[in-house]
Symmetry: none
DNA sequence: GATGAATGAGCCTTCATTCAT
DNA sequence: AATGAATGAAGGCTCATTCAT
């Protein structure tokens, strides 16, 4: 009955500790997969004891959730920053290749993270919710931006959604490099062209 | 040392049993996830004892692998059948909505399967290889078909790849129905139009 | 309640089958150890089905018991044959090196068998009884022979017992060759000398 | 991958626990045999949980190995202590019966241990190595002692080896008491006499 | 707050033995 | 008699979580 546990840490030292767990845990989850990383390992890698983890998190999965939440925010902020420099559809045409490049880059750096998040989001409602939220936020922000550009585009959310998934697939393809018969340079040229067309449909 | 075990069953009764294990196992894996399904459950659900599983499979994962392999073949055959009725790009334009419909349908029926395969393919090389193979086969078949249609299209493989992922994302969207603010009917109209454009680029 | 099982086979075919199980089983037990040999393997190696074993033997251990019993008899007969050519203590002095040689040879050929029998005899009363019986028979036979030689020797059984173990240890040493710092040729000369002395004490 | 486990315990409490596992495990192995003792039993008998065993040992066999190692050291120390009181071959003649008595006593107390060690040493290289080492150490120590006594004896190692096995067989005989027709008192007199003779050969 | 030893349920796999055919 | 598929209990080991210190 005594559930004196888990409180949001207020002291700097505790906050730092919680952050360390999240970072280390996420890193290990990404490297070895959620089910192949155990709490003792996380604690050891974070330089603390096994027990302490359960003062900051109710269970193993919560570490992953929290990490994904933070990671999602980071990514969003990065993208929003780029978005803020667009002010017309012509800008978009112009900046699209750069945006794609930066997204490919992001995938390259967080390859393992993306895979593992996807993996977990498939079997875990909480993670799935974070991912859905991420997509929704992104779509909405872009939709808002477009609406303030050139007087609005029909079905902008739907288009943005499709576009983002096209870009994401391309990123996956380039980073994981599974289909050796594909010409990535060609794909990279096709992509902005078809996006431009799709947006204006 | 003693590896006299596991031989491909020849007798009808054994084949049936192996099939039953694959089906039941796959179903449970899809329902509850690979790591949350144990071999005893599979055996019980298949109406047999735990031990017998290991006469047909070397280990738990092999059940999943085999199931995915078969599933992949089924899906491919279904798609190839549709493909065989196309003989020109105009046909494609015409049949595209139907193809999309049928793929959405497939996803709807095998929603859980798709999720779990994706999940496992992220952390397991064998499963990943099956998925990659699946995509490669599909791309090649379509590419061949297109090449025999209208004298060839530039970068056809790359285009097909992008197109398939667009369709797949749409399927996910419709089936898992996560983004309630999206207008699926609109997306369904946008999709063939942009595909048509992309293919001809 | 229906224990229609295990009867001593009368038909030639059945006898042959039982023999085959004993031989194959013993061979495998010796090669890989009792606990690392399973009944399926024995059956397979003997070219029959798993089930049939249990028509001839009540359980796995009975195969080993029976094999050891037979093996013990074979060895005894071999030794008795040599014994029959001795008729005086002087003969013994003369034939001792040859007897030792032949015993070393036997150990060399059945190295694994000896080890495994020893192993099992330690944890299994039935096997132990066979081994004890073997030693007792051997001791008695030799004692009888000696008594008919030169008018009897005091404590002949006790001496024979000690002597046999000295020889056996020597055999082990030579065959398993564990102590590389020992000079086997020297030991082989020491052995008959001390035996001769011991017998006449 | 993750082998952060099993470190030599430093704290008194841990050391005690590890010792308890070794003792209890060894006792059970000796009573029931290695293959008939399971880890849960060991844990229960030691008053702890199954899991904790694996913080101190990488696997079941390691418990046995460690126990045998320690046991071997104990025995050696006991014998060396007796050896240190000998300073001439005449001493040996004098103390031999006492040494034999003490070795019989040791066998009586650790009967089961000896059997099980022998058993395992036959099928396990690690255990076998410990036993071989034990014999080698013992032989060397005695050889050194003898060499410092009366100016050296030819083939002393070979002789000691034979002698030790004679004594050991006698111990086995007395303790396990299998051959009821033997006169142990007589054997006990024969033994030192023939040893004395053998050493001086 | 912190530690890390301890818990014990749970999992995959093996195998002696049985039994339907 | 013979087959070999089937059974299911048992075993070694892992790991999320707890708790005494």
């Amino acid at each position: 009955m005594n559930k004196t546990k888990i409180t949001e840490p207020k002291q700097a030292r505790s906050i730092e500790k919680k952050n360390k767990i999240i970072e280390t845990g996420f890193q290990l989850f990404c490297e070895k997969g959620y089910y192949h990383t155990n709490t003792a390992e996380i604690a050891a890698a974070a330089g603390m004891s096994t027990g302490i983890i359960y003062r900051y998190f109710p269970n193993k999965k919560a570490i992953f959730s929290e990490a994904v939440k933070r990671y999602s925010e980071q990514i969003q902020n990065g993208i929003y920053e780029q978005l803020s420099s667009f002010s017309s559809l012509t800008d978009l045409d112009h900046y699209l290749p750069a945006l794609i490049d930066s997204l490919v880059d992001m995938h390259a750096r967080f390859e393992k993270a993306h895979r593992e998040i996807e993996t977990m989001s498939n079997s875990d409602a909480e993670i799935s919710a974070i991912v859905v939220d991420f997509e929704e936020n992104l779509t909405n922000r872009f939709a808002d931006a477009f609406e303030q550009m050139d007087g609005g585009v029909a079905y902008i959310k739907e288009k943005i959604h499709l576009v983002f998934h096209m870009i994401e697939d391309f990123c996956h393809e380039v980073v994981f490099h599974h289909h050796h018969e594909l010409d990535y340079a060609a794909m990279k040229k096709l992509l902005p062209e078809s996006i431009r067309y799709l947006i204006r449909l």
